[in-house]
Subunit: 337 residues, 2 copies
DNA sequence: CATCGAGAGTTACTCGAGTCAACAGAATCT
DNA sequence: AGATTCTGTTGACTCGAGTAACTCTCGATG
């Protein structure tokens, strides 16, 4: 350590509004007015002086002071259950972008599908006075006492059930699953199974309902339902198990791309061909579905629109609404197309 | 909208320290002392009274006020260039965990590999007075004026070149690449190509140096170098192009898992078998490498350790150091093992 | 000419929490 | 007993920015 070439000796400890005011020869109030296009008008001449001073000092308003006075941190929080799942990563990214467009920063917290951790993060967000929280809970009926006590608006994101009293944004799981089964039945399959990701919270997943609906509509008898956690290795296990079954279904609907990725891997290992021996349709529309081999036919969620809608729901307030978006079928090779 | 079952009529607008003090019958100072294990001792009896009042009111200290007084937001910022790349997602997740252990929240911003966006985010983080920033820049010599002006410490994360004056944490790209080539040469390959992700910033990537070193050590002539952006579709393009070449190399080192995933997909399409026709080793150690078919032999980065080290570098301060971690070779099927 | 009003600036208070100087009372020492 | 230390508590000031309420100037209107 010889020197600090990047830190000049003149250690100016961050300029404040007062410094700007002094340098520009005006009061602190006008500085605020200039910075915020404030509630009062400022003459062009003084505005110019202030702007020059701001530039000269490299002044930036202190967000903490602003937040204290305004009672708004201009931050939103988001709790995601699983950063291992690319779907949630995409969702978080889309929300971050939509929030940034409205001038909000996003504080992302990972609950790792643990209820304790989810609650801890909610407390943290509450004390940071975020202006709203996007919650992708692992629970069906999340415990929102912390946030309610702090009067922080919440939108349940990726929550497709109607939750009275709360805003929510989700995708039409049931219709998506129905579409998937319809498509597989259209390829001539008669034994269509379901690989269902298990959610911690209990409650019936719409995909299960839609799958059953699709099977019934096609006049078939329901294939087996296999339950497994929402993770790649779980899909792999399922495939291995399925490989040993004599009465293996000829088609599967997987409730998530990552489950399908695991399945694919397992089928490759055991020499079962996709789609020839087993056809596959999954859910989410992540890049992994596109680049796997064979490419996965999947029900893509309109992530950008969902994110935008969720951000709107938070920043514009209004009465809590439940928005459900339709997924769209993306045809690739895994279904036999 | 009939009613708001979750919001009782008694809208208590978030309790402050003063409310707690009043209810407990003490001064506001003791409340602070209790909350922070403050600089002064408090008798057990009063502490109990305060604790009761805190619980009764659901009091939470206002983070904005705290930040204003302390000059520290207890937040760290992180700028990642590409949330499409699972490596950065894992890194961000690991950093978030390590930061949380130290009591810091993480503000994650996505620069989408754009310099303008990177700079905008740095300005934003500066005005939010984060206590430090992890920067995974797309640039070789990032422009840190904003952060320097605000006296915010930075650690260059995923930066393997020595940058005098800055703390940095990275992986030994060169040694990793050398290891990869050594391994491929050990399988008997003599024409070993390089698929190199292009970085916007210019400057020589250590993986290129290590690849060349490995080839030389094995007494071989260097195979072709193919450059492409760090994205899955780019890998796919490269594979298609390679498929048409008569002098195709028998082995490839790809500088990133996502490039290799694209390659794999392209080779499948064109009927080229991996590892029989082309052996493949890649870099990063993401889950996609594990679940692709065939599984990718890859140089796994010690992400947890890197994250921990980066957080330490920020919160403990000290003189800026350059920490380089060794990657480890994970053998799977794509190399021919 | 007196009065009003618009426009430009300034002063001073406020948000909620951290913490220091001051102080009261109890405990210890000489 | 008087002096000294220690313990527990409090009032008051501070951080930086937003803004209501006030002052001052100048021109227009009755």
């Amino acid at each position: 350590m010889v020197a600090m070439p990047h830190t000049p000796a003149s250690a100016k400890p961050t300029a404040t509004r007062k410094d700007v005011a002094r340098l520009a020869g005006v009061s602190t109030a006008v500085v605020s007015y200039v910075v915020n296009g404030g509630p009062k008008r400022v003459s062009p001449a003084t505005e110019a002086k202030v702007r020059t001073a701001i530039a000269a000092l490299g002044y930036r308003p202190n967000a903490a002071a602003r937040a204290l006075k305004l009672g708004s941190s201009e931050m939103l929080g988001m709790i995601v259950p699983d950063t291992t799942n690319p779907f949630f990563v995409m969702l978080a990214h889309a929300v971050e972008e939509a929030a940034a467009e409205r001038g909000y920063a996003l504080l992302i917290a990972n609950s790792d599908a643990s209820i304790a951790s989810e609650r801890r993060h909610m407390g943290n967000l509450a004390s940071r006075r975020v202006d709203g929280v996007f919650l992708s809970s692992v629970l069906f009926e999340p415990d929102l006492r912390e946030l309610e006590a702090a009067e922080i608006p919440v939108v349940l994101l990726n929550h497709s059930a109607e939750s009275p009293g709360f805003a929510s944004v989700g995708v039409d799981l049931q219709e998506g699953a129905r579409l998937a089964v319809e498509h597989l039945a259209g390829h001539g399959h008669t034994r269509i199974g379901l690989v269902m990701g298990t959610n911690t919270g209990g409650g019936l997943d719409g995909r299960e309902v839609g799958w059953l609906e699709g099977v019934r509509e096609a006049g078939l008898v329901p294939g087996p339902i296999i339950r497994a956690p929402f993770r790649r290795p779980a899909g792999l296990e399922v495939a291995r198990e399925l490989a040993g079954r004599p009465d293996r279904p000829t088609a599967l609907f997987a409730s998530s791309d990552i489950l399908a990725v695991g399945l694919l891997r397992g089928f490759h290992e055991t020499g079962i061909r996709v789609p020839e021996d087993v056809a596959l349709v999954s859910f989410d529309g992540s890049p992994e579905a596109e680049f796997s081999w064979p490419g996965l036919t999947t029900l893509a969620q309109p992530i950008q629109e969902m994110a935008r809608s969720a951000v709107d729901a938070l920043v514009t307030g209004g009465s809590p609404s439940n928005r459900i978006f339709p997924p769209t079928l993306v045809r690739r090779a895994s279904c036999g197309c």
